[in-house]
């Protein structure tokens, strides 16, 4: 029996995005943003948009595939896929689901995308304002536990406390994203630098580990990638970016109700990371550039630890800005500015950045990277991550 894997089977041939806006500032409707990003990804790949035959998204994207297919006049829809789970936990999974559809022959040319216009629709950082609330939230919301930041804060408190990790580690993650945004013209926070004093003086969102700059932005925009079979990508305009590994899910009962996950102080990647490395036939040391989804800086740290990129014991020493910058860093992190400072596009902007790095076209270009790791939104379930590589890594 042949090996069941996506390694080297599919490639990202096109990337696209809209202008990124502050939340509520998009002049365009969410659906129009999605269309624009998708058309840009097709143009980048040199593919007629009518040839797209599938759509994959996540986080409950409102721009549904069949409507996109009709609006774009695509010839034939063969794959429509929405990944369970909120936020950016599914960003890498959406790309992988597109890849699985292509590799299995269910489709030929699939768009993975995310579109958000939080001015047109609701913001994430606001609590539910219903008079009465059911499900898990019945045991949380009456105590004032309502926002994503609040849902994750106690994981971070426990992990940081247990391991004696200092808040400077989280500060380094925030400083790195803002530093990279200053030389990325797409970044919403371009021209808005962050330094140690500004970080330390920023207001508490939640003690003890969520200052303002530890939290992602909320934005309007859209981003998309086009996934095709590997052999086809070789005849397309850009240097192909191959999918080497992809994994999604969560460890034992990571989604247990009312904060009852047995392994609680976790970003939920222990099993996902193991499966990822196994498919990619690579390890943490092979990664040249890392995009790690920041909903909150604590989640970046936990996700990095669970992927073996740094250990809890060495985090205080290793996690300093110089080690994380694109030019000087031993582990370049969030080289476009990420969710903190480029755009909160639920991490799809990070997939685009991972591709740009491997093509050699990033604003903050790491020197000759071969392997790009993307860690999707941490601390939700399902989480997901993926590894992309150049031709040499096949």
């Amino acid at each position: 029996m042949s090996e069941r894997t996506l390694r080297g089977k599919v490639a990202i041939a096109g990337i696209g995005e809209t202008t990124y806006y502050k939340h509520g500032k998009s002049p365009d409707a969410e659906f129009k943003l999605a269309l624009e990003a998708i058309l840009n990804a097709c143009r980048d790949a040199g593919v007629d948009p009518r040839e797209v035959d599938g759509f994959a998204s996540y986080g409950g994207d409102r721009s549904d595939g069949p409507r996109l297919a009709a609006a774009l006049g695509i010839h034939e829809l063969r794959f429509s896929n929405m990944h369970w789970g909120g936020g950016g936990g599914g960003v890498a999974a959406a790309v992988a689901n597109a890849g699985a559809a292509v590799h299995s022959g269910m489709a030929n040319c699939v768009i993975a995308f995310r579109s958000l216009a939080q001015g047109q629709f609701a913001r994430y950082g606001r609590g539910n304002q219903a008079a009465a609330i059911g499900g898990d939230d019945a045991f949380l919301a009456p105590y004032g536990l309502m926002s994503p930041a609040q849902r994750f804060a106690m994981k971070i408190t426990r992990f940081m406390t247990q391991h004696g990790i200092r808040h400077e580690v989280l500060r380094a993650i925030a400083l790195t994203s803002y530093h990279h945004a200053q030389t990325n013209p797409r970044a919403v926070m371009n021209g808005r630098p962050l330094d140690v004093a500004k970080y330390e003086d920023s207001r508490w969102i939640i003690e003890p580990f969520h200052r303002l700059f530890d939290c992602c932005m909320e934005n309007d925009g859209a981003a998309a990638v086009l996934v095709v079979p590997a052999e086809r990508a070789r005849d397309m305009p850009h240097k192909p970016t191959y999918l080497l590994g992809a994994a999604q899910g969560g460890h034992h009962r990571s989604a247990a109700p009312v904060h009852n996950a047995p392994d609680y102080a976790s970003a939920h990647f222990p099993t996902v990371a193991k499966n990822l490395w196994s498919m990619a036939k690579l390890g943490p040391k092979d990664v040249d550039v890392l995009q790690a989804y920041e909903n909150f800086t604590g989640g970046v740290l936990l996700g990095m630890i669970e992927h073996g990129m740094v250990s809890a014991e060495e985090a205080n020493e290793f996690m300093v800005p110089e080690n994380l910058r694109f030019d000087t860093g031993r582990l370049p992190l969030n080289t476009s500015g990420g969710n903190l400072a480029e755009c909160y596009m639920h991490g799809l902007e990070m997939v685009n950045e991972a591709v740009r790095q491997l093509r050699g076209t990033a604003s903050n270009q790491v020197r000759d990277p071969k392997v790009s790791l993307v860690i999707g939104g941490p601390m939700v379930t399902p989480v997901s991550s993926l590894i992309l590589g150049t031709e040499e890594t096949l």
């Binding site: 019945a138 105590y143 106690m154 426990r158 207001r203 508490w204 009312v258 904060h259």
Partner: protein, 145 residues
Amino acid sequence: MSTHYLPEGLPAPAQEPIAQPYWEGTRAGKLVIQKCAGCGKHQWGPEWVCHRCHSFDLGWAEVAPRGRIYSWQRPHHPVHPALNGHGPYLIVLVELPGADGVRMVGNLLGDPLQEVAIGAEVEAVFEPHDAATPPYTLVQWRLVE
């Protein structure tokens, strides 16, 4: 003077059928959670099946209203209009060693600016909301002296 830890106007719990014995227990000042009739283990939050033995015969049992702080947070930023201008408050995740280590979320009563230690012993305080329709009672926590 309100006897409630947080201001009025936050969402009330919808007292859904799956959790009815819990809500009835809180009204009587008792902590009642799921205890599987198949394997005898506690679980929380409420679910239709035992995650250990897959029995649907989930009973309910009163457990000791004592635990220890497993983790905590002090939100400052108001995420709901009812919290505007209120200032910081404390949320704790409490582990119940007497009930197979299940965890519950509540507020830690007392000074919202107090220092909080993981592992500190706490006991339940039942906070009735008698004027609500329907009335309900929240389970809060205070440090054991």
